[in-house]
Assembly symmetry: C2
Homo-oligomer: 219 residues x 2
Amino acid sequence: MATSLAEENYLKIIYRLSENTDQGVSTNAVAELAQTKAASVTDMLQKLAEKGWVIYQKYQGVRLTPSGQKIALSIIRKHRLWEVFLVEKLGYNWDEVHEIAEQLEHIESESLIQKLDEFLGFPDRDPHGDPIPTRDGKMADQIYQPLSEIKEKMDCVLMGVAKDAAVFLQLLTKLDLNLGAKITILEINSFDRSLQIQVNSAAPIFVSHEVAKNILVKA
Amino acid sequence: MATSLAEENYLKIIYRLSENTDQGVSTNAVAELAQTKAASVTDMLQKLAEKGWVIYQKYQGVRLTPSGQKIALSIIRKHRLWEVFLVEKLGYNWDEVHEIAEQLEHIESESLIQKLDEFLGFPDRDPHGDPIPTRDGKMADQIYQPLSEIKEKMDCVLMGVAKDAAVFLQLLTKLDLNLGAKITILEINSFDRSLQIQVNSAAPIFVSHEVAKNILVKA
DNA sequence: ATAAATTTTTAGGTAAGACTAAAAAAATAT
DNA sequence: ATATTTTTTTAGTCTTACCTAAAAATTTAT
């Protein structure tokens, strides 16, 4: 069945909100991410339920059916492949690609995505370290852990981010915290849980707990 | 001012229909290309006129204003650059790219098109030989002439096509009539104006006047 | 020049996807 | 346990872009 742009965006949002919980996703949470009003969300959830892409019961939140999940994953796959293209082939920085990929993810062509995937050398992570779902709708787990959970004195490598807001990514870039950066944790301050770290053996810097939570590393 | 997808398509269609004539473009002609009804076209023309993109007077047809033309050319520029990408980088054939480019042409990002243009090596023709408008909205003339206008015994090179319907392009491909093919006109049959030609020095073949009209060559 | 045919426009409606305001249900606090 | 607050839903509109049917203008044919 055909999916409209609005429907695809809702499914993607519901998917994202479902990742952390096995509860139904609340109307308000969806409204916030969709940048719309709760009343509009209710409307749309009813429509998505009719089409069989979500399970929705009044006041009980919403969850994706297998077919809804499949659609969401195909949008995410397209989004992430296009991000790889934008960074690897067109030379964008990792903080610049999100908006453009939001548009490109809705282009409809099976063959296009297959050929793009091949052109990019079948990448399995996007420029933010997020796994790219496979063609048959399987997505690898996020195997990396937040920097905030690494112990003092340990070494690790920056493999991804848990948040791709441009302001956050720009901060990381400014601190030389790029994909693949070698990080040594010198000290964790118990007061505010901020970290003193060394990036690529340069002079030590401080990062807040909030930042560390959103940096994903391989120990 | 922002342009919706529908508006962009109308402007593009009006541009195309204006290319051959300096008359206003008729409502019906637009309706046919837009695959919609004349009444819907009238609605839209009034809206486009309010926005200052077309000059429209009841029963008098429509023509683009400079700002409307600028929008149309930017859509055409995007369409053709994406076609180059699809053929040159992703390995599509020239008869497969039109539909996908119809979607990609509406992606909105100045920087994306600049970077794409650069990535492709600043091409000035698309895979069908059509000129790509420049960033500031200038489009080179179609400098090639139809094969149907070349004299007997002359040699020429296939530089483009005047029609990009898939069935036509597939026929050309089957006849080995690809971009750059060397064509020698052996004979023009006065009865039906069909041509006997030789392609890349292979065995002679016949093509109809209709086909010859839509093949663009450099003498 | 008038009649017939065609094209174009107007009028009135529909569906998608958003909105506001008000009502209803659920969650939280006293 | 009841009152208050918050969340969610319903009801009623709006805009965009399309539709059909009928009216009006234009073009073509006689």
